[in-house]
């Protein structure tokens, strides 16, 4: 406290409040205009999310439920439903065991191996369709490289083909399970990091053995994370598309998503039947989303300020390194190796001749204008969609977190942005195909429809990532700005945006990664002239141009890898955890 008071405040103490005295703002005017703006925003999102789903049902029930009668008339659909459930439950079981085990392994990594923690997430960022083709190249009964190698073993050297048949249901389940493991791993890891080592130490000091600690303390505390992770993995398992499509179609193994695609792509094309086939997935997905919202309730209740849980100091184990490296080798390195071998070879057969290795297939790829166009379309559509969906996610997250005064609109928005999470991309793709092939918006065959469907399916991710970032920030920075005299817009621009920069950048990169490898929705809304990487890969696969397929798959992988690196650089080391 120095003597500068009088200089700083020459008329300190006199009434300084006159300057704004005339100003009066009515709640009614203020909240009406923002309510109208928010209402319009919610309406646009509702159109994006709900109209395609509505159109599907409309078509399925048209002509006295013709779609349903065709789809469910003969008993074959129940076989498909059964297979879908087997696939979902089987892959869920695998994913829960592996994912939880890996999360524990990751929490017990020795300090200098901590970097391995991100490895189990890799299968998410390797494009699904690429890794499935990789597995085909390795485990196809006759020409698969691994099968050929296994047939050299003395007890299998009498075999003509196999021993593994990747085109069978158990292997479809296993490969799907490997992919889902990453999701369970993410949820359980974040759950584990929320358990402070003090809880564990308190139990140990109280006389619990380490097994007792696991069952009495850690597992009960993890239950929310496990339930949530299992729910997401189950939804994803039910909506699986690329593995059953590529692995099961030739052997007659079909699930709801592949049946649905078949009804829209094979003659006689029957969109009504396709819509009806998708209904079980739609209903189940909506039930899960509604149940979860009702169960978890208001997001704002989960806002916790301050107090960062400190890193648990559990005893490290070298076995954990082995487990993680092994999983990474099997789930990521193996299929990519398969892709590499085929991409370098002139053709795909069970034998390898390094002498014939060349980069010809990559030259082919870059010589084919349709492939190059598809790659460019993928990149531009993904980028555009990201630039649209992240700001939307920002608005959604702000309203969900601080829009308590918009009681109903906020509730509607909460459900709206969660719906795409519950509904398989293929179903959305079909809905978009129907909605945008007819007035008022005829967009079929344009890039716009791809961008729109991308924006829609990424709404939950964008909102969730920004919500996490905002929640961690707490409310006091924003309140401090408001009482300092800044309006809502100014606060968002000067305070929130800079503080959320890394979160938002991480979200941009991660959503880009997910979109660049998108396959299910793209396959339904693409046209012969508007393709993306995944769909063009699928076409070449159907035509049997395997080295080209492998090269495209590798390019897809490289693009997403680049996206991940950007995400890590911009969003920080833990960017992947925000998924």
């Amino acid at each position: 406290m120095t003597a500068t008071v009088e200089q700083a405040f020459p008329d300190a103490g006199s009434d300084g409040g006159g300057r704004l005295s005339g100003l009066r703002t009515s709640t009614r005017a203020r909240s009406t205009s923002s309510r109208v703006a928010l209402g319009a925003f919610v309406l646009v999102l509702a159109y994006l999310v709900l109209v395609p789903l509505f159109k599907l049902q409309q078509l399925a029930v048209a002509d006295d439920f013709r779609g349903y009668r065709v789809a469910f008339g003969d008993g074959r659909i129940w076989e498909t439903v059964r297979t879908t459930v087997y696939l979902a439950v089987g892959s869920l079981a695998i994913a829960m065991v592996l994912g939880t085990g890996l999360a524990f392994a990751a929490s017990r990594l020795p300090v200098r191996w901590r970097g391995l923690r991100s490895l189990p997430v890799l299968p998410i960022v390797v494009p699904g369709i690429a890794s499935v083709t990789g597995w085909i190249f390795l485990l196809s009964p006759r020409p698969g490289y691994l099968n050929a190698a296994l047939r050299n073993l003395p007890w299998w050297n009498h075999l003509e083909q196999g021993p593994v048949d990747v085109y069978s249901l158990p292997w479809i389940i296993l490969i799907t399970g490997f992919g889902l493991t990453s999701f369970v791993y993410l949820f359980v890891s974040s759950g584990l990091s929320g358990i402070s080592s003090e809880h564990v130490e308190a139990a140990e000091v109280a006389g619990s053995s380490s097994i007792g600690v696991f069952f009495r303390v850690i597992l009960p505390l993890l239950r929310p994370a496990l339930v949530y992770g299992a729910g997401i993995a189950l939804l994803l398992g039910l909506g699986q598309f690329a593995p059953p499509l590529l692995l099961g179609t030739n052997t007659g193994i079909s699930v709801l998503t592949t049946d649905m695609y078949a009804a829209t792509s094979q003659s006689p094309v029957d969109y009504g039947a396709a819509a009806a086939i998708g209904s079980p997935l739609l209903v189940f997905g909506l039930l899960v989303v509604i149940g979860q919202k009702a169960f978890l309730g208001d997001q704002a209740r989960f806002v916790t300020h301050g107090g960062k849980g400190f890193q648990a100091r559990r005893r490290s184990s070298p076995l954990s390194v082995l487990a993680i490296v092994l999983y990474c080798l099997v789930a990521t390195v193996l299929p990519i190796t398969g892709l590499l071998l085929v991409a370098l070879s002139p053709f795909w057969s069970g034998t390898l001749d390094p002498g014939t290795f060349s980069l010809d297939s990559f030259r082919t790829v870059f010589g084919q204008s349709d492939i190059v166009t598809a790659i460019l379309t993928s990149l531009t559509a993904s980028l555009l969609a990201v630039l649209i969906v992240v700001p939307i996610g920002f608005v959604c997250a702000s309203v969900l977190l601080r829009g308590q005064r918009f009681r109903i609109l906020r509730q509607v928005l909460d459900y709206l942005v969660a719906v795409p999470l519950g509904i398989p991309a293929v179903v959305f793709g079909a809905g978009f195909l129907l909605t945008y092939s007819a007035p008022p918006f005829i967009l079929y065959g344009t890039k716009s429809v791809i961008v729109l469907v991308y924006v829609t399916i990424m709404l939950p991710f964008a909102t969730r990532m920004l919500l996490t970032g905002m929640t961690a920030l707490g409310s006091s920075y924003i309140e401090a700005s408001r009482v300092s005299g800044a309006g809502l817009l100014g606060t968002n621009l000067r305070i929130l945006a800079p503080l959320l920069r890394s979160t938002a950048a991480g979200a941009v990169a991660l959503i880009f990664v997910l979109l660049a490898q998108e396959f299910g929705a793209s396959l339904l809304v693409r046209s012969s002239t508007t393709q993306v990487m995944g769909t063009v890969l699928f076409d070449y696969y159907t035509n049997g141009a395997y080295p080209t397929v492998a090269a495209v798959a590798l390019i897809m992988t490289a693009v997403t890898a680049a996206g991940v690196v950007v995400a890590l650089v911009l969003g920080g080391r833990n960017a992947l955890d925000k998924l």
Binding site: M1, T2, V5, L20, R24, T27, G485, L488, G490
Partner: protein
């Protein structure tokens, strides 16, 4: 006409069931006055503050700042916080980590478009005022807790707002720093005479800083008075308990006048000046004398017999818990010299406790409406 006027303020949070945090609250703050809202956690003091800031929308009542209505539930007026011309100091400081100290302090001027003040060096002058002149180009992450607190204060004051709000700003500081920042805050207010509302649960902070105190309980104001009157004449038993009169002695009127724990109570009028037959006395721990079993009590004191439950050494004093007829009383006894007998007190020692009724406050059965007050005496320092 008072500067800040709050009328009939109420705030109910929706939920199952709805929670009413503030009920029918009236408040007037004069220009340049430093008002302290004091109460335990959950009494609604922070909600009241946030309603003043506009961060919370009250469900009832009205708020005016210098004749300008900023909130009126009936007329649906709710001026957003950025249009209220206020400053606020947060418990967590809430300094924006991506801005330097200079930009943090300058923010209220900048967003209000007050370029002239910026160019006149108000930021630097205000920083110098809180001894942060040397820190202007640092980031908040590079500052200590006390420095962050000063920067937050500078940010709250720089635009010379109509009203400065403090939300328990000292509670994150350690005890020694808290005392010095408190002293600086007091001096700064004496010089600048800004209007302030300060929320705290710490009675020593409230007594030191406030021109007036509002003691809150369950969303209402129990007493709204100067620190001296709150301390010396707590209007309700709740206020008395909160302000340090921790000892409660039930008293009742018998045939031979008032008694307390079976002993005759000296000094309380036995005639009709008090209506009821029951009540309670409230006493500070340092107004309770502890005497040896045979020691004569001072004239006019009420004497009770009891035994020691525990005695703690506190440096210059002993904190003694005496059980009298099932009541636990806390007494703060000077240690005296190195041979002072109080030092030797141990559990189960028989003792007498004595007090002057004039030091105590009497509350009738309901716990309100004191009929007899303590004599006005010079303010005593309060132990935190």
């Amino acid at each position: 006409m008072s500067h800040i006027r709050v009328t009939g303020l109420g705030k109910t949070f929706p939920g199952k069931p709805p929670v009413t945090v503030v009920k029918d609250l009236d408040l007037e703050v004069e220009q340049g006055e430093f008002l302290v809202l004091l109460g335990p956690s959950g009494c609604g003091k922070t909600t009241t503050l946030r309603c003043l800031a506009g961060l919370e929308s009250p469900t009832e009542g009205s708020i005016t700042f210098a004749n300008r209505t900023v909130f009126d539930a009936a007329r649906r007026v709710d001026v957003p916080p950025n249009k209220r011309n206020i400053g606020m100091v947060f418990q967590s400081y809430a300094l924006w980590p991506h801005m330097t100290v200079r930009r943090n302090i300058g923010y209220p001027l900048k967003v209000r478009g007050r370029k002239q003040e910026l160019s006149e060096g108000w930021v630097e002058k205000t920083a110098a005022l809180v001894d942060c002149g040397a820190l202007l180009d640092r980031y908040p992450g590079q500052l200590s807790g006390g420095q962050q607190q000063r920067v937050a204060l500078a940010r709250g004051l720089v635009a010379r707002p109509d009203l400065v709000l403090f939300d328990e700003p000292l509670s994150n500081l350690d005890a020694r720093l808290r005392d010095s920042v408190r002293a600086e805050l007091h001096e700064l207010h004496r010089r600048l005479r800004y209007t302030a509302v300060f929320v705290t649960h710490d009675q020593s902070e409230a007594l030191a800083l406030g021109d007036r105190l509002a003691i809150m309980n369950a969303g209402r104001i129990e007493q709204y008075d100067t620190p001296q009157r709150v301390f010396e004449q707590p209007r309700t038993e709740y206020v008395a308990a909160f302000i340090g009169m921790a000892n409660r002695l039930p008293v009742e009127r018998g045939h031979e006048g008032w008694t307390c724990a079976g002993a005759p109570l000296v000094g309380l009028p036995g005639d009709g000046t008090i209506d009821g037959d029951r009540g309670a006395l409230r006493l500070r721990s340092d107004d309770l004398l502890v005497l040896r079993p045979n020691e004569p009590a001072p004239a006019g004191a009420t004497v009770l017999r009891g035994s020691v439950a525990d005695a703690e050494y506190g440096g210059r004093h002993m904190d003694v818990v005496v059980v009298v007829a099932g009541q636990r009383l806390h007494a703060r006894v000077p240690c005296g010299g190195s041979d002072g007998w109080a030092r030797q007190l141990v559990a189960n020692d028989a003792v007498q406790v004595a007090f002057m009724t004039s030091d105590a406050r009497f509350y009738e059965g309901s716990g309100t409406a004191p009929a007899v007050g303590a004599d006005p005496v010079t303010p005593q320092p309060v132990q935190a």
